[in-house]
């Protein structure tokens, strides 16, 4: 919008009439005044409705005035710019709202008790209680999932980039992409059907056993494609000259990969792993299906039920107790802080990398 009007001021004599630079702002101010004032105070709508009416007024007025002064094409251009700009506002609003609600409502129970106690013995009538067991569960499950997926995913990426020729590599690449779209609940059901109901009875006297390890398996299914995909991308960015330099010194291919290619791509790979961890830490559905949920602290992921931070939020949100919502919000604040921290650190690590797209 601004560039357009700026360009036209220099060549204004050659072209058709243009609206002055301040025109959109003036129209916006007028629309806001009429919309908010009229709807909020005169009619029965709230400020939100007023803002919507103001936005509509702005579009209508802008298009009408622009059509009248500048003609149809320029008016359509202005309308498109305004719509595209407002789309952005629409997207940022929920983000701000989620952030604000989580922080303001999560602050109530953001105390030492919350991080040092579990929900053991806390009934609907008790205040207090904490999420220590849930945080422990999240860390253990995600940790095990990382141990499983990083070697596997890295191996897969190396195969696709360095060794894979022909059909198998193509199919793997394709299905890695497809696998990123598998719903988390399906991953949970898979581990339920495969591990909990078929394999775990072998170790548990014939009865299916819910455990933190099963949750880790489900999270692995979700993390694996993300890690393969990001590692694959980073390995491709390693310059061929580095590989060739290593070959020229007589270093075999596998040692070249381990000593030259992977260290070069490492920051990017770490970024991918952290983003995958951030996504996995927030998953609720698979943990709910296979970890069983718990109220007491259980540090052993291989025996006994566990819970996770996200499952804790879901449980507390559906518990009928006046104290539960506060716990749910504080857990949500903790989880969001954890996930955003991972995401931001991951992006910073990526920025340090010398390989850029």
């Amino acid at each position: 919008m601004t560039t357009l009007t700026a360009a036209t001021t220099t060549a204004v004599q050659l072209k058709a009439k243009r609206l002055p630079k301040y025109a959109p702002w003036a129209i916006a101010a007028g629309a806001l005044l009429v919309g908010l004032g009229g709807v909020t105070f005169a009619a029965d709508g709230g400020p939100v409705m007023g803002a919507i009416v103001a936005a509509l007024l702005y579009f209508v007025a802008l298009i009408t005035i622009a059509t009248f002064v500048e003609g149809g094409r320029a008016a359509r251009n202005r309308a498109a710019s305004a719509l595209i700009g407002s789309a952005f506002v629409l997207a940022v609003l929920p983000l701000l709202s989620v952030a604000f609600t989580t922080i303001s409502r999560g602050a109530d129970r953001f105390d030492a008790d919350f991080f040092y106690r579990s929900m053991n013995g806390i009934t609907a009538l008790n205040a207090g209680g904490g999420a220590y067991h849930a945080i422990l569960g999240t860390l253990e499950q995600v940790g095990i999932a990382v141990l499983i997926t990083v070697p596997l995913g890295l191996a897969g990426a190396i195969y696709v980039v360095e060794y894979g020729r022909g059909k198998l590599a193509k199919w793997i690449q394709f299905f890695v992409d497809v696998m990123t779209g598998i719903p988390s609940i399906v991953a949970g059901l898979f581990v339920l059907a495969f591990w909990v109901m078929v394999i775990s009875p072998i170790f548990n006297d014939g009865r299916p056993a819910y455990s933190g390890f099963a949750a880790a398996l489900a999270l692995s299914v979700l993390m694996l494609p993300t890690i393969v995909r990001s590692a694959e991308e980073m390995l491709r960015l390693v310059p061929t000259s580095l590989r060739e330099g290593s070959y020229a010194l007589g270093v075999p291919k596998w040692r070249t990969i381990l000593k030259v290619v992977i260290p070069t791509a490492l920051p990017g790979i770490v970024t991918g792993v952290m983003l995958a961890v951030a996504r996995a830490a927030g998953e609720t559905a698979p943990v709910m299906l296979v970890a069983g949920g718990a109220f007491a602290i259980n540090g052993n992921p291989f025996a006994g039920q566990q819970t996770s931070l996200s499952l804790f939020i879901y449980d507390q949100a559906s518990t009928a107790s006046q104290y539960a919502p506060a716990r749910a919000w504080t857990a949500a604040l903790t989880l969001v802080a954890l996930v955003l921290l991972l995401t931001i650190v991951a992006k910073l690590v990526a920025r340090r990398s010398k390989l850029t797209r």
Binding site: I84, A155, V178, S184, V186, L192, R279, A285, A317, V336
Partner: protein, 363 residues
């Protein structure tokens, strides 16, 4: 290059190469190639040749097969998902007294008297996903265009990061936010829609409002927004500069440049990003389990309390399910898996057709 080679030539050939390379690099003379003195012996390594590839080092084959296993794990997992879901779904499906695809209620737990079907769940899944796409796609394309063609580069980086953050927020937090906070404005909106557009079947209501399809769909729309945005933004940025400049040279306004150059070029990418968003919308579980009213009727009303999806039903009904109930839920999960697999494969096939979009398809 011969495949077999005695182990002891390894060190000799190796040092020979490096030594000769240093001394005789400028004028590379290629010596007697097949080594005539010992014709049955495999060749030595000579200057100017690449190192032998196969069987040279024991670690090589070992490492290669290790990575092959890692790569094939993905295929194995997808096959295993299908296999185990089918195996575990069969008991409930054979005990079912109703048609699984046309029955609307869900009571699979009674032994010898199981009645369940996914008709209402499938309807709810498609309805909520469709509304979510209807809301999210225009906004997401607007953001993508804003980031790629309108915003300043610096501003675009920061704003793009904000959109990435939106993608990072866990779905359970969106569910909590939708239920505890967003429900109120959506209820106001529902009442308003019902008051003025109540004649339209989507906005019909008998006076009750609350955890409705509209609430769930709007939360879902916010969640798929970053997915659609990130892929379509990448695609828009790849529009050839020449196309845009050609349009500008013909006197096109910025919007006309976008309409005639950017959008046609990016169309496959847009379709693919919408499909990816659809895949996510179909499979979303917890946010919908927390915001929908979980009913088992096929109703077009989006403002009444109600609505349910296959995934949300799995989360809601899992708690009180016995073995047979779990098996029935797995059967519904199998349907969900099949649908999302088809949607995702279509999206990926479109992306793959244009190699250039490959880099954009990570998220």
């Amino acid at each position: 290059m011969p495949a077999q080679r005695p182990g002891n030539t390894l060190a000799a050939g190796h040092s020979g190469v490096t030594g000769e390379t240093v001394s005789a690099l400028p004028t590379v003379e290629v010596p007697d190639r097949p080594a005539p003195a010992r014709p049955e012996e495999p060749r030595e390594v000579h200057v100017g040749e690449p190192l032998p590839k196969r069987r040279r080092y024991g670690g090589e084959t070992y490492f290669k097969s290790l990575t092959t296993v890692g790569g094939s794990a993905v295929l194995a997992i997808i096959a295993a998902i299908a296999l185990f879901l089918i195996i575990e779904a069969v008991p409930a499906l054979s005990a079912n007294k109703e048609n699984f695809f046309t029955f609307t209620k869900w009571s699979p737990n009674a032994l010898n008297d199981a009645h369940f079907g996914i008709a209402s769940l499938a309807f709810g899944t498609i309805l909520s996903a469709a509304i979510a796409l209807l809301v999210a796609v225009p906004i997401a394309l607007g953001i993508a265009l804003y980031l790629s063609h309108y915003a300043h580069r610096r501003v675009a980086t920061i704003l793009g990061f904000a959109i990435d953050l939106l993608a990072a927020v866990p779905s359970v937090v969106f569910g909590l936010w939708g239920r505890e906070f967003f429900a109120v404005p959506v209820q106001d909106l529902s009442i308003w829609l019902n008051k003025y557009l109540g004649w339209f079947p989507l906005f019909a209501s008998d006076g009750r409002f609350g955890h409705s399809v509209l609430l769930g769909s709007l939360v879902l729309a916010i969640m798929i927004l970053p997915i659609v945005t990130s892929l379509s933004r990448e695609v828009f940025m790849q529009t050839p500069r020449e196309h845009e400049e050609a349009a500008m040279a013909l006197g096109a306004t910025k919007w006309e440049v976008i309409r005639t150059a950017v959008l046609p070029y990016g169309r496959p990418g847009i379709v693919a990003s919408v499909m990816l968003g659809l895949g996510r919308a179909l499979g979303e579980t917890i946010a919908l389990a927390m915001t929908l009213g979980s009913s088992f009727v096929i109703s077009w009303s989006v403002v009444e309390p109600g609505g349910n999806t296959i995934a949300a039903n799995i989360a809601n009904a899992f708690g009180e399910a016995n073995d047979q109930g779990r098996s029935a839920l797995i059967a519904s999960g199998l349907v969900l898996f099949a649908i999302t697999l088809i949607v995702n494969m279509t999206a990926r096939a479109i992306v793959r057709r244009r190699k250039r979009f490959l880099a954009a398809a990570t998220t």
